[in-house]
Symmetry: C2
Subunit: 314 residues, 2 copies
């Protein structure tokens, strides 16, 4: 197993301008794992309830995902309900039923503990710290995500966690909230000083901005004909991003840049349909075509050769 | 004269999180002209009052800008006051004094009428239409900008104008307002159908998105250490964009992509200081360095050669 992900597995009820779905498979670990599975071997650690569908387990397995870390507990699977009717970039939560997630304490097998890449998806930072502490040796790369709730109620554990990771993925609004800095490059600079060597700011329909100690990189969002369901876009980004890094072992500047575009590619698929409908049914050719579409979306002439700018003498 | 610009010349009183300035030189024609002047010969058409400073006229002239179309009328120069304290992307207007601008009717000399490139900056669309109609022959490229006010009170003239231009530059919110479409690619598609072959959506700190009949292009904003004054960013973008096209005569796909990055480059300078302080004091080397910074900000590996994605067989 190359990447271990610890996060939520959920049934989501979602309404968007494009329609409505009840109890579709979701959760950060689901989106991350399916997205990363196109690139490398993924192991999921999470908890599901008695109501969890066999067909959903088989979907994970069909993607080669190791679900031995998926604990089945008494009770119902975590459920979330929300809508994106007012703003496609921001979910309005209607209801959160933690269910089996309320008492979840991740427990890792020896194989899990030896994973060289670790993604701590958005869960209580005390659990993220526990998982990191349980690893048999420090993974090559540890990345984490978080959310506004933990900034509000668990800031000290979150600060400790951020101090221990290599890569932080965080929403734009949460980066501002955590640092109390409105100007994004300033907020990113504060986050870089607090631990990670790379901070990926997720900006919804505006793409992602990668801030590293030695370079910045801007990845646009793909201008899709329609955004059907933004749920899971960030975790799908993280799955492509970390999956690419784990598959190649390349976390150099070039590797991080490429991984960010792979992440944006996977996020663009995730939002094209409800839940995991699109991202769980991709071909390698489709992924490469979409990556190429990002090349086409962003390419322009460099200053090399005779392409200097047409400047007047002043 | 390569480019003619018709627009406002103003004294702006501005407050931002970085400070406050009273009655600084501004206006769409000022930002556009100074920005474009680094690339090509610009002529300004606009109106100023008796209070207009000689030193400001000399600043235009020092940039080689033809100010023969700057009419000096009885009364005071157009004045605007506003702040960006709540949201750096959106000005809150405190006061607008049209002054000499209230009765402004652009009058073009023969040299103005023969300009091969025309930028109709944000003024009443009936005046924009008049200028376009006064040209001795259809310019090679006509671009225009607008604002929410004209969408509200002069929609039919604006619709007629948009039907006649090659390039429309418009803010994201205004594109949504004009088309009544929230999803930006859909809004841009509607705008393309209404006339222009290229629509540039200005997204403030998120950069610009260029939609053309045959391609899309995403230009990020440069992650500056601080944004001092966003006034004039859009017109500075337009000045660099149109200046680059006029200087080279290249409005091909490659030319438009490069011009959008030149526009973003000039906008990034404009916001680094109050008013025209920074953009009126640039060297060619600084412009090329910033353009190169955009190359560095956006470059990533293509799929060419051995750089295919690390996809698993599925």
């Amino acid at each position: 197993m190359k990447i271990l992900v610890v996060g939520s597995v959920a049934y989501d009820s979602v309404e968007t301008p494009e329609g409505k779905r009840d109890a579709q498979l979701g959760g950060s670990a689901s989106y991350f794992s399916v997205s990363a599975s196109y690139f490398t071997e993924v192991g999921m650690v999470g908890v599901i309830g008695k109501d969890f569908q066999e067909s959903d387990l088989r979907m994970y397995e069909s993607h080669g995902i190791d679900i031995s870390g998926l604990e089945r507990a008494d009770g119902e699977t975590f459920r979330w309900a929300g809508d994106y009717l007012k703003d496609i970039n921001t979910a309005v939560t209607h209801e959160t039923q933690l269910n089996v997630f309320a008492k979840f304490s991740p427990s890792l097998s020896d194989a899990h503990k030896a994973a060289p890449y670790l993604f701590l998806a958005n869960i209580d930072p005390t659990l993220q710290l526990k998982v990191l502490g349980d690893m048999s040796s420090r993974p090559k790369i540890v990345a984490c995500d978080t959310m506004n709730l933990w900034i509000d109620i668990s800031r000290s554990a979150l600060t400790e966690l951020i101090g221990k990771v290599d890569i932080l993925t965080i929403n734009e609004g949460e980066a501002r909230q955590f640092t109390d800095q409105h100007h994004l490059p300033t907020a990113a600079g504060r986050l870089l000083k607090s631990g990670p060597s790379t901070v990926v700011i997720k900006r919804g329909e505006y793409g992602a901005a990668l801030f590293n100690e030695s370079f910045n990189f801007a990845a646009p969002a793909y201008p899709l004909a329609s955004v059907v369901d933004p749920t899971g876009a960030g975790d799908s980004f993280a799955g492509g991003f970390m999956g690419c890094i784990a598959a190649t072992g390349d976390a150099s500047e070039e590797g991080l840049r490429r991984a960010a575009i792979v992440g944006s590619t996977m996020a663009s698929f995730a939002v094209e349909a409800f839940g995991l409908d699109r991202i769980s049914n991709l071909t390698g050719a489709e992924i490469e075509q979409r990556y190429q579409a990002f090349v086409d979306l962003t390419r322009f002439q460099t200053l090399a050769g005779n392409n200097g700018l047409p400047l007047l003498e002043k």
